[in-house]
């Protein structure tokens, strides 16, 4: 009871503060600062039609590298905890209908994920959503398989390879053009084509592989520690 009252009081005080903050906010009529700069010169600078991918991979590529490291440490912590402290494995066998569908669908889902990753500079998508889609295909495979898969070596080598690719592509830009993760070490080409935007598609592939392998690693260690219903 006292917990409810204290919680409600804290939330109401925060709501009052937020409303006073919002009260002063006026609807901007134009973009300001760095957002305006990105929209004005983004396509010329990077060759990527999709400005969100341009910001994620090119302008803020170093931030993305850091965020991939955060993702890496979170997934490593999950895998480490579940490997060191076993919770008890009891995967329930899937029914034959689920097993059959899990045999035919993941190919199409992985294809769709790769499409999202490789068209990240042309249409909505990129490494992060595409990697999540590919990881959900792996999840389907795991749900449909009767045995506990032991692919952790394969997954961790893909993960390391993707991280290494990201770093090496960054250093390539640093040594040739004097700027870490400069994406114009390959000529930008004409915006709107599939082979354009410098190394943005390559970095998208690396990010996608990394996200997919890390989420799959989490699911794989979950499966080892017991089935997901």
């Amino acid at each position: 009871m006292i917990r409810t009252i204290v919680g409600l009081a804290i939330v109401l005080v925060l709501a009052a503060i937020l409303i006073t903050v919002v009260d002063d906010y006026t609807v901007p009529s134009a973009l300001s600062g760095v957002g305006e700069l990105y929209t004005q010169t983004g396509v010329e600078d990077t060759g990527s039609v999709n400005l969100v991918t341009a910001v994620v991979v090119a302008y803020r590529g170093l931030d993305t590298l850091g965020e991939v490291v955060v993702l890496f440490s979170a997934s490593t912590a999950v895998v480490l905890i579940l490997t060191l402290i076993p919770i008890g494995a009891n995967p329930t066998p899937p029914s034959s209908i689920v097993a059959f569908t899990a045999g035919i669908l993941p190919g199409a889902i992985i294809l769709f994920g790769i499409y999202i990753i490789t068209h990240g500079h042309l249409s909505p998508g990129g490494g992060f959503p595409g990697g999540a889609v590919v990881a959900s295909a792996f999840l389907l495979v795991m749900l449909g398989s009767n045995t506990i898969p032991d692919k952790s070596k394969f997954l961790s080598s893909i993960e390391s390879l993707a991280g290494l690719t990201f770093g090496l592509l960054g250093f390539w830009g640093m040594f040739t053009l004097g700027q870490f993760l400069n994406n114009l070490v390959i000529p930008a080409g004409s915006p709107g084509r599939i082979i354009s935007a410098g190394i943005i598609p390559l970095i998208s592939l690396a990010i996608g592989a990394k996200v997919a392998s890390e989420l799959s690693g989490i699911f794989s260690s979950y499966r080892k520690a017991g089935g997901e219903e």
């Binding site: 066998p93 899937p94 029914s95 209908i97 689920v98 569908t101 669908l105 199409a108 219903e229």
Partner: protein, 111 residues
């Protein structure tokens, strides 16, 4: 207003109606298996009708929409099957008036 456009309007309207009925069924029917009956069959039909009507509005979207229909037809029955099995494994979800239970009887045989 051409014939195609009229057909498209009718199809999207029917699809929306079926989807609404499905939502109402999920809200009103008593237990898990009845709710699933409304939530799976009706949404499959409703989505197919709606997507086909949408494809008639914009003929250039038709291949992608057909792909979506194929995926819905493939995945919707399977997911509801898995859901039904999971619900069957929970004793609390079993309705009171359940008389014939084939899954329970066949459990010992084909494991």
């Amino acid at each position: 207003m051409s014939v195609t456009s009229i057909i498209a309007h009718v199809l999207t309207g029917l699809g929306a109606l079926v989807l609404f009925a499905s939502g109402l069924g999920v809200f009103r029917l008593p237990d898990v298996f009845n709710k699933m009956h409304a939530g799976t069959k009706a949404t499959t039909l409703g989505s197919i009708l709606f997507l086909t009507g949408l494809g008639l509005f914009e003929p250039s979207w038709m291949p992608k929409l057909l792909l979506v229909v194929v995926f819905i037809v493939l995945t919707n029955p399977v997911s509801s099957h898995a859901l039904a099995r999971a619900a069957h494994n929970e004793p609390a979800e079993k309705p009171d008036n359940l008389i014939i239970d084939d899954l329970e009887e066949s459990k010992g045989e084909n494991q």
